[in-house]
């Protein structure tokens, strides 16, 4: 009690001098109250990171500086300071809530638009029977490439070994097969 009273008395003296324009007393006051502000902020906002806590501490210091004329030297200092800290913390919480309300969380989608033109990479086809018939009409080399790489999901190396052909030739056959299938299926849709 006596200790806190004497500490508060020291703050009052510093603040009185600061209000008179004493820069040293003001710096000393700021340095002494900063750990107290940090302690209050940390104990009331346990979930915040160290950077966010320091942000709030600085915010309180700036606020104290801006309204130092509202301190009445005939009254205790700490209730005045605590009222500012409480207010700035509540303000920060309101700001955070407002910011969160304005943010929209979205899934990381593969495509940017729902339109068909934006989904050119999508290779699934809605009519499996039509796709099966279309594959049947492909030349032998292209059909085998599609069956092995797309249907059985073999690697290029495995498929090349199975066909007895090179990887390059297999790639070309797959590309031609995909182009032919796309054209055929689009014709069917029309």
């Amino acid at each position: 009690m006596t200790d806190s009273t004497s500490v508060d008395g020291r703050f009052v003296a510093f603040m009185r001098a600061a209000q008179a324009g004493d820069a040293d007393a003001y710096a000393q006051l700021m340095r002494e109250i900063t750990p107290r502000i940090r302690f209050v902020v940390r104990s009331r906002r346990k979930f915040l990171s160290a950077d966010d806590i320091e942000d709030l501490v600085q915010d309180v210091l700036l606020s104290v500086h801006a309204v130092r004329a509202t301190y009445d030297p005939s009254r205790p200092f700490m209730p005045w300071l605590l009222a500012i800290i409480r207010n700035r913390l509540a303000d920060a919480a309101r700001r955070y809530a407002r910011r969160t309300r304005q943010e929209v969380f979205v899934d990381n989608l593969d495509v940017t638009f729902a339109g068909e033109s934006a989904n050119s990479i999508k290779e699934t086809y809605a009519d499996p029977e039509a796709l099966r018939l279309a594959i049947q009409t492909l030349p032998d080399g292209q059909r085998s490439a599609i069956e092995m790489l797309k249907l059985r999901e073999m690697s290029l190396k495995e498929a090349a070994a199975a066909c007895g052909t090179s990887i390059g030739a297999l790639k070309i056959a797959t590309h031609r097969a995909m182009t032919a299938l796309r054209k055929k299926l689009m014709r069917n849709n029309d």
Binding site: A27, M30, A66, T70, W80, R88
Partner: protein
């Protein structure tokens, strides 16, 4: 975020200038009255006080209503000045309640008497809607003076501060208005005068956040520290 807190402290201390501590809310209310009363008197003289004012002053109900309206305005001013002092007694916010209750009670009693005496139709006589504008006119300078004075304080409760300040300015404006404006039946007094005071108070409360806010207050020192 500013780079380091110690650097911020050094900058703030370097730029510290002498400030005069704000006087307590009672003294500030007296200063506010000192600014507002001459303006109100000038407007009242321009608008010519009511001819029957001396007779009205002998009516106890008129006197009670005027005193309570004036006290409500003054108490609201004290409360508004208290809201900008960190750690100040919040009980002061309750002080305007008593005169407001007296004011309402007196007006409510007058309404009932008018209704009993003249009936509903007679009590709803058309009223000059300029009343509301007159309250704005009378409350303008007291309101501006109060905003200027309140901006020297801490914007702890911007909307509440502005609403109470609006109540104080419109309350004192209404007090002056009744000295120059023809007396009306109580129902319409309640609607236009009390309603007008409250509408101004609500409007002021809505704008409070724009007039009193920490961002404006701390911007100069924040900019100089970055």
């Amino acid at each position: 975020m500013i780079k380091d807190t110690e650097g911020l402290i050094r900058r703030l201390a370097q730029n510290v200038e002498p400030v005069r501590p704000l006087p307590n809310p009672w003294i500030r209310t007296a200063v506010w009255l000192g600014v507002s009363v001459p303006y109100l008197v000038v407007v009242m003289i321009i608008m010519t006080p009511q001819q029957h004012l001396s007779a009205m002053v002998s009516d106890p109900r008129f006197v009670i209503e005027q005193i309570s309206a004036l006290l409500a305005g003054l108490a609201a001013a004290v409360a508004a000045f208290a809201t900008i002092i960190p750690g100040y007694r919040r009980r002061l916010l309750l002080v305007p309640l008593l005169p407001f209750v007296v004011w309402f009670t007196s007006l409510g009693q007058g309404c009932l008497q008018d209704l009993a005496r003249h009936g509903v139709q007679a009590s709803l006589l058309p009223h000059d809607p300029l009343c509301f504008l007159f309250i704005v006119l009378f409350g303008a300078v007291p309101g501006i003076a109060m905003v200027v004075m309140l901006r020297r304080g801490a914007p702890l409760t911007p909307r509440l501060t502005a609403a109470i300040a609006g109540l104080a300015a419109a309350g004192i404006g209404n007090f002056a208005l009744r000295l120059v404006h023809p007396e009306d039946v109580s129902v319409m007094m309640l609607v236009w005068h009390v309603g007008g005071v409250f509408i101004l108070s609500v409007l002021a409360g809505g704008a409070g956040h724009y007039v009193f806010n920490w961002r404006l207050l701390t911007a100069p020192s924040r900019n100089s520290a970055q």
